[in-house]
């Protein structure tokens, strides 16, 4: 009989993981692996499955991983403890910055710093886009889909939600028909 892990312990371990994850979901994986397998909570060959599932579900990957791992340990309560744990450190840090920053936003030095930062941030959004395009746009019609979505959202002010809904329905239908006709 395995010993039950306490909810508080789950919360603490995930808070530790959350506090040291800088730069999104993927940076979290080695930390989760270290913390979870050391405690024998998750085996190393289970982790790729968890990551793959968390990636394909909507939402933030780090939250999805926490929900899944927490569920494995203590069911629904475990998911809640793990998720709250993983977001608490960043929540508190962001809150502190948001409160502090509103007071200093008009400081001329801060203003100048952000004039430098803003173009860099846009570059940092473009880099993962280019990397994703290289991986997922493998045929001409996939390029068309990518460029079409960009133009609709950026220039014609169409909501991304409608585009995702349409592509989900069309993609599902197309895959379904292809599988049936085989």
């Amino acid at each position: 009989m395995e010993k039950k892990v306490s909810l508080w312990q789950i919360f603490l371990v995930f808070a530790k993981i959350g506090a040291f994850t800088i730069g999104g979901g993927y940076a979290m994986i080695p930390l989760i692996q270290a913390e979870m397998s050391r405690r024998g909570w998750i085996s190393d060959d289970e982790l790729p499955d968890i990551v793959a599932l968390s990636q394909s579900a909507p939402g933030v990957m780090a939250v999805n991983i926490s929900i899944f791992a927490g569920h494995k340990l203590r069911g629904f309560k475990g998911s809640v403890a793990a998720t709250l744990g993983s977001i608490t450190p960043s929540f508190l840090i962001i809150l502190a910055i948001a409160m502090f920053f509103t007071a200093f936003r008009d400081n001329p030095w801060i203003e100048r710093a952000f004039k430098g930062i803003r173009p860099a941030v846009i570059a940092l959004i473009a880099v993962p886009m280019v990397k994703m395009a290289k991986k997922s746009c493998t045929t001409w019609w996939k390029w068309l889909l990518a460029i079409g979505s960009l133009v609709l959202v950026a220039f014609l002010n169409v909501s991304p939600i409608y585009i995702i809904l349409c592509v989900l329905i069309i993609g599902f239908g197309a895959t379904w028909f292809r599988m049936r006709s085989k």
Binding site: S56, A62, S90, I97, R118, L150, I163, I164, T175
Partner: protein, 200 residues
């Protein structure tokens, strides 16, 4: 009453964002931007860009961090009260996670069936290029603004994000450093902050 209405709107908006984000934090940014900057005009493009910068530098997933920050700003700007700002943060962050909870718990139940589903993989093949376009659009909207007057588009560079030619150099330099140089985003943002103080 109006505050309550704003909180409800904020909650529903971030619920939608959580439900329709496929493909990670940057995909989520494009949705947050569309909903918060374009649809509701709660914050400006420049403020949104600043929030993304802060979210990239601080620990935690970028999507969650931006939601926390945006939630604070929306209610703080509307009321001037930091306490309501905190309430806004909580509302945005928790609402964002509700769809994940519902869907992940369903997935856990149907774990193996879901994993081997070719139908799912095929649908994702269609969705991934679309997400690439959405992230691209987020970057474009932070650079230029398009307004339509009588069927004629008018394209304007956002002067807050790109005040002069130096901004374009910073964009190109940061892209090169991150893409080819693989420089850590935190160092890149810190370096561009120093450059900003020196150049402007």
């Amino acid at each position: 009453m109006t505050v309550l209405w704003l909180i409800l709107q904020l909650s529903w908006t971030f619920f939608l964002i959580g439900a329709f984000t496929f493909g990670g934090g940057y995909a989520m940014l494009s949705l947050i931007q569309n909903q918060v900057v374009v649809e509701h005009a709660w914050i400006s493009e420049a403020t949104f860009t600043d929030i993304v910068a802060v979210s990239q530098m601080t620990p935690g997933p970028i999507g969650i961090n931006s939601a926390t920050y945006v939630g604070y700003d929306v209610l703080f700007n509307a009321t001037g009260s930091p306490v309501l700002g905190v309430l806004g943060s909580l509302t945005a962050t928790l609402s964002l996670m509700i769809p994940s909870f519902i869907i992940m718990l369903l997935i856990v139940k149907f774990y193996l069936k879901f994993r081997s589903s070719r139908l799912y993989a095929g649908t994702m093949d269609w969705l991934k290029p679309c997400v690439v376009g959405l992230i691209g659009a987020a970057a474009v909207i932070l650079i230029i603004k398009t307004t339509w007057t009588g069927g004629v588009p008018q394209v304007q560079v956002l002067s807050e994000n790109f005040p002069d030619w130096k901004s374009w150099l910073l964009l190109a330099g940061a892209f090169a450093a991150s893409y080819w140089g693989k420089v850590n985003p935190i160092y890149l943002i810190l370096a561009s902050a120093v450059l900003g103080m020196l150049l402007y």
